[in-house]
């Protein structure tokens, strides 16, 4: 179902007119109300009136996470705090978190795009939505919550953790939709097996999974284990939270960007040049309608490409391909770029390999070494050494095809790799670089 037919199927020309009008307004608001923005534009010799067409967007300076940190906590808000009704913050694994603010209208906009996203994934009024995204400073829980309520679904605001209790509640409440990170969804599936709970005793139909990159093989795995259709959702707190883009259940290919609110560009992460339509690079967003904390050309560090071809679902919004990785998740092993999702894709392609893995990177002398830890399930285990060694060699060869160098495969006992209750920690990088 299309939640907002008028905007989601707008002819491209009308959409672009709307985007330009909103862009001009955004640049003006940012320039006159926020000193750090004004300084940046003055430095580049730009005034708001220089924005005459959408193509002029690429002359504006980028906004980076560091710029947000430099103006911590509220320095980039365009409105005084008496108009800001909520703040959220990123996890901030390195130093200070990044803080984002919302006016009343921003919260409404967010609920609107999130309702569109859920509808796009096949959720509707009458669904029981089990929302296992974390509630709190993280945008996942509350963002999804408001959207599901706006849609008219019944929300179970369970947040993350206490997995056994979550399963009991899904059984008892007849939950039809699961919202979670893909790694937590797998944790739920495995815990069900341990508890002896059969997947058919649940009523799940759709899983809306996001907040971390995941591979196509992981999708198959989680669909099989939980008996649902797994749909990818994208968002980041800086832009608004979940609901920036969403896969449609019809195509399950590419995520529709809600372009009347968020304007995408793909750039070369090294040079900053805007790349032609369809080429892969770093995703950059400009928030066209956000009031309290708008962003111009924010570098997401996520790697993807845009798909301009019309979609079977009827939405006219451009699609972005499933995120393959982030520039800061990207491991450079002996000069070769590797994303954890690529390793995941290889592992999930081997029959019997459990979707729990960890990548450990070390530096020995001047040489990078990569170790992949894989859990030995009963399906893989054999009493003969050669069978296990063949398995290691096979995984090793497939990863070598991918990254061009040999990594070490370590077989570990089941359930020794830490299970995710939110975002999974896939990589331990011990290099001090």
């Amino acid at each position: 179902m299309i939640w907002n037919e008028e905007f989601e199927t707008l002819p491209r020309e009308q959409l672009e007119n709307l985007q330009l009008k909103r862009l001009k307004d955004l640049v003006e608001r940012s320039y006159y109300r926020v000193k750090p923005y004004r300084e940046k534009m003055d430095e580049a010799g730009l005034k708001p009136e220089h924005i005459k067409s959408l193509a002029d967007l690429q002359n504006l300076p980028f906004t980076t996470k560091d710029f947000l940190r430099d103006n911590y906590p509220f320095g980039l808000f365009t409105l005084p705090l008496d108009q800001v009704v909520r703040v959220h913050a990123s996890s901030g694994t390195t130093g200070k978190p990044t803080v984002v603010g919302y006016t009343k209208r921003d919260i409404e906009t967010w609920a609107e795009v999130m309702a569109r996203a859920l509808a796009c994934g096949g959720v509707h009024r009458g669904d029981v939505v089990h929302n296992a995204y974390g509630y709190g400073l993280f945008t996942g829980g509350l963002g999804a919550h408001y959207g599901a309520e706006k849609l008219g679904a019944t929300v179970v605001p369970i947040s993350g953790g206490q997995t056994k209790r979550q399963i009991m509640i899904m059984q008892d409440f007849g939950s039809t939709v699961l919202l979670a990170t893909p790694s937590y969804a797998l944790n739920i599936a495995d815990t069900m097996v341990d508890m002896g709970v059969d997947g058919s005793s649940l009523s799940l139909r759709v899983g809306i999974f996001g907040a971390e990159p995941w591979s196509e093989n992981m999708r198959e795995e989680v669909e099989k284990k939980l008996g649902l259709k797994a749909i990818d959702i994208y968002g980041l707190s800086e832009i608004i939270g979940p609901g920036v883009s969403m896969e449609c259940i019809e195509a399950q290919h590419g995520l529709h960007i809600f372009e009347d609110h968020f304007m995408p560009e793909i750039i070369d992460p090294d040079t900053g040049e805007v790349l032609p339509m369809g080429e892969e690079g770093e995703l950059v967003f400009t928030t066209l309608t956000k009031q309290a904390f708008p962003l111009i050309r924010y570098r997401t560090k996520d790697i993807t490409r845009l798909i301009a071809e019309p979609c079977v679902c009827g939405r006219t919004f451009v699609r972005m391909e499933k995120i393959t990785g982030r520039t800061d998740d990207m491991l450079i092993i002996r000069g070769v770029n590797v994303f954890p999702t690529q390793v995941e894709h290889v592992l999930m392609g081997v029959e019997g390999v459990e979707p729990h893995y960890q990548i450990i990177v070390n530096r020995e002398g001047s040489m990078d070494t990569m170790e992949v830890q894989v859990e030995v399930s009963e399906q893989l285990f054999s009493d003969e050494v050669k069978n296990l060694e063949n398995l290691s060699k096979r995984i090793q060869a497939e990863i070598k095809d991918l990254i061009g160098s040999t990594c070490k495969i370590t077989l570990v006992e089941p359930k020794t790799i830490q299970r995710s209750e939110g975002k999974a920690k896939r990589v331990i990088d011990n290099r001090n670089v």
């Binding site: 009963e378 285990f381 009493d383 050494v385 060694e389 006992e413 359930k415």
Partner: protein, 143 residues
Amino acid sequence: MKVDQIAVFLENKSGRLAAITKALSDNNINIRALSVADTADFGILRLIVDDTDKATRVLKEEGFTVAKGVVIAVEVADKPGGLARVLSVLHEAEINVEYMYAFVEKSSENAVLIFRFDDPDIAITILQNAGIKILTGEEVRAI
């Protein structure tokens, strides 16, 4: 003619073997024979116990990866040439031994050889035709 064996995956870190033997001991399970195959990265413990099903259940509950399989137990005289004769019979019949281990019976003059074959049924026929004594599961458990 076949004997049940359980194999357990051992991650290469200290205390794993101790954890397995403790779980068996706490549940009053007696080990009849064992061998450990080790590589640089992991090990495989193979066990013949007096109660295979119980041992399998206990170890799975403790979180170990367990595989049940069958091996052949051959009894030979505990003197020079005992093993050599069995191996030469197998070699002539072109039967490949995946792995083997052995122990000496405490109450007799005999030794027991445990063999793992790809195709145990053919191996049994060959050994029996050569007049070699094969022990049953009960006989091994009763040793």
